[in-house]
Structures are given as C-alpha cells and as structure tokens.
Symmetry: C2
Subunit: 223 residues, 2 copies
DNA sequence: CCTTGGCGTTAGTTGACCCTAATGCTGAGC
DNA sequence: GCTCAGCATTAGGGTCAACTAACGCCAAGG
C-alpha cells in the first residue's frame, strides 16, 4: 500500500504538473513538500519503481496514469472532506484544510461513499475547487482567468479561492471574497496591488493573492 | 508527539490492566497487538522513558496517570467515531470498528468536539461501551455481569457487546443480540454452550461469546 | 571551450517499528 | 535448595522514510 507521504508526493506532482508546463523538477517538488532535494529524489525512485511516475534523469518527472489516479483519489478525499466538515460538522470553511489534509489519507472507500452520499455527490468544494468523480476521470486542466488579470471597471464573479494558506483564506473570507461573490475592479496600482469593491466595501489585495483567485465573467456566472 | 502505534500500545495496556488483576505482562501485551515479546518490550522501554508507563523488570507494566489519559483520549475518539459513523453516516454498526480504529489516531480535538456536539454528547457507543468524558475522567472499572454467568430461566437485558471481532459482532447482530435487547436463558449445555431466546427465536452461543456479552437485570434496565 | 554555480543524484546516517536468536530471571515442583 | 520451564530482556538485524554531506551533470558567460 501507499503511505500518506507517498500520496502527498503524488498530489504535489499533480499540482505542479498542472500549473507548470513541462515535467516537474525535483527541486520544485522538494520545495512544495518542504523536504530536501535528495529526499524528494529518492522518494521519486520509489514511486518510479512502483509505477506511479516516469523520470528522465536530470530532466524531471511526470505522473503515469496510475499516479494520476492516485492523485485524483486523494484530491477527491480532500475536497469531499472539506465540504463535509464545512456543511455537516459546522467547521468554518477557513479552518478545514489541515484536518482534510490529514484525514484524506486515512478514510476508507466506504467512508468516501457515505460522505459523498450525505452531501448529494457534490461537484465543487467550499473553495470552489472541482471534486473528482468517483470514477476519477481526469479534471479539466485549462487554467482559467484570475482576478489579477482584470482591469479597472471589470466586474467578475469569484469562482475559486486557493486554500493553500489558511490565514490568507480567513482574511479573504472576512473581506467577503468567497465563491459566487461579485467583485468590481476599482484600481490597479503599479506596485503590484489592486483595489476592488466587494459587497459595497473597498478591499486592496497584493498580486500574489489576486493571482490565486480564479474568476468568471458575470455572464458565465448566470448559467 | 505520539505515533499511532504508541497510542495502540497504551490502549491495549489500558484494556489488559482493566480486565486482569495485577500489572500487565509483556507477553499478554505482545499477544494483544500481534507482535513478538521483544518488540513489545522495547516499545515499553520507550513508553517508560516518555512517562506513560511504569515497569518493574520482569514484573510487568502499569500505566501512569499520563498514560491512562492518553488511553482514555484514544478510546473516546474510537467510541465517538463508532457512534457517529453509525448514527450520522449510515454505517452498519457491525462495520464501524476498523474505520474507527484507524481514524481515532488522526482526528483533531476540534473534530472530536464537533462530532460530540453533533451527537449531543453521548455517553455510550453503539455496542453499549461507555464513552470517556471530554475531561477524560477514569471510567468505572467494575467488571459487570456477563451472559455466561446466567442460568436457565434467568431473563436479562444486553448492556454491552464486545466489538473485537467484526464477524462475531455481525452474527450476533443478525440474531438480534444488541444493546437493550431482552434475553432469556433457556439451557446451559455442559459442553461450554448456552441456548437463549431472543425476540421469539432460539439462539445457541459458545462460552467464548457469552463471556463477551455484558448484561444487566430487567429491573436495572427499567431505570 | 572552459569554468562555474545551480540543480540532481548518490552515499551514508538516523529514528521508528518490526523480526529471530540468544541470554537472563523467577517461581513451582521435586 | 536445585532444577527447569516459561516468560522477559538483550543483541543484532532489516525496512522505510526522512536527513546531511559529497559528488556529478549541465548550460550560460567569459
Ligand atoms: Mn484544501
Ligand atoms: Mn476514494
Ligand atoms: Mn470498537
Ligand atoms: Mn480528544
């Protein structure tokens, strides 16, 4: 069987592969997982041996279909758990990430099925992230538009908010920036910052944050 | 922090200490955890070093107050999880043990609180086992009466059914032997077996099973 | 084309958790 | 009081997943 760590590696490779272009470098992976390169490198050996990744020496790593399936499975667990903790157990949706990040490795398929059923088979989690189906079909990999790309006067609707940093997430939530929220861009400062209007209030956000907020047009949102 | 294994050791020592009389022998512990004696012995060294157990060389092991607290914590997690899985997620109560046995080591205190609240702070789990309080007060250690001790003609009410063996549990459940069920002893055979009437049906059970079924008198049950 | 800095891999170490084989203790029966 | 069986501990090893230190590759700049 796979250890929790191995699942974390596969999940991280999946993300990096989706966000970047070519194969995933060892150091990017090490960075994402907060381990040293040698540690990542030797784990990659193991994962290759078991058929979850393919590597070209010095040239980076790609997931095999098996590896992608495992990654999608873990992501499904994670997002179902976040949804469940939020909607059924009353967790604040800014606080669920760590809990889901641990439990995703420890629940059974039966647990997964029951949770999905209790939630009526949801297709997105509370951050707006898509939940892989039970059959683990690959997710649509097209990047989507971010708030950072918008210009003054543009009005868009928040689709997804990254859940990487709980503090950031909590702050955004307090400012009213959550999925389905309508946002108007007021000003783009040349110092890597943007001011938007949300629910009547003005909020300023640095680029590193607006880049993590995925949006759709108002027209798309009405569908 | 404590590993899942360490928690399992402490839980096992707690049980053996409660069921037996004196300190827990290394081989009994090894048996319970399905490891060899040397393995158990060296884990006990570690647990002693960390202050969770006290040992007298060759004379056995006892939990310290800290060790008991950890054991109670894990047992609380286990029993809350079993109750939650059964009552809120629709698991069959014969199938929850393994799931709870893994998850008990991985849920946060926040998760524990939310689950307890969702269940209205239950005091017994679906097998009839008492759930330690949030403050982890020691549980009442008095043994209780078992079905095995009853004689023909006695009528009692099931209080607790052991959840150690899922198959056994499933069989008993199918026969209607669950907490709060009234049972009449019809016959005690001299070959280590007993026949009882449950809900109109006759059921025969070997001693090793009736010893694991804790009962109370009909009068006690009415309180 | 050769150097050099950065990244990747290899080698060796550690800690957790398991094993088997050998040795040490203890108490019950002679 | 001695013996010996049974249990406990010690010794020695293995695997897994992390680490640090050392070494190898490679591409960009001189
Ligand atoms: Mn998340
Ligand atoms: Mn799954
Ligand atoms: Mn149980
Ligand atoms: Mn707890």
């Amino acid at each position: 069987m796979l250890s929790a760590k191995m699942e974390d590696y596969l999940k991280a490779i999946y993300r990096l592969q989706r966000d970047g272009d070519g194969p995933v470098t060892t150091s990017a992976l090490a960075d994402a997982l907060d381990v040293t390169s040698p540690t990542a490198s030797s784990m990659l050996d193991t994962l290759e041996e078991r058929g979850f990744v393919e590597r070209e020496k010095y040239q980076g790593t790609r997931l095999t279909r098996d590896g992608e399936t495992v990654a999608l499975e873990v992501i499904r667990h994670h997002r179902l758990l976040e949804t469940y903790l939020t909607e059924q157990l009353g967790f604040d949706w800014t606080e669920v990430h760590d809990e889901a990040d641990r439990l995703e490795h420890h629940i059974s398929e039966e647990f997964e099925r029951r949770v999905a059923a209790a939630l009526d088979d949801p297709v997105v989690d509370p951050h707006g992230d898509p939940i892989p189906s039970e059959t683990l079909e690959p997710l649509d990999g097209t990047p989507g538009i971010t708030l950072a790309e918008q210009e003054p006067g543009d009005v868009v609707v928040v689709e997804r908010v990254s859940d990487r940093d709980p503090e950031e997430l909590s702050y955004l939530s307090k400012q009213g920036i959550t999925p389905d929220q309508r946002v108007e861009v007021l000003d783009v400062a040349p110092i890597g910052m943007m001011t938007v209007r949300v629910d009547g209030d003005e909020v300023s956000l640095p680029d590193r944050v607006t880049e993590m907020i995925q949006v759709i047009t108002v027209e798309e949102a009405e569908l």
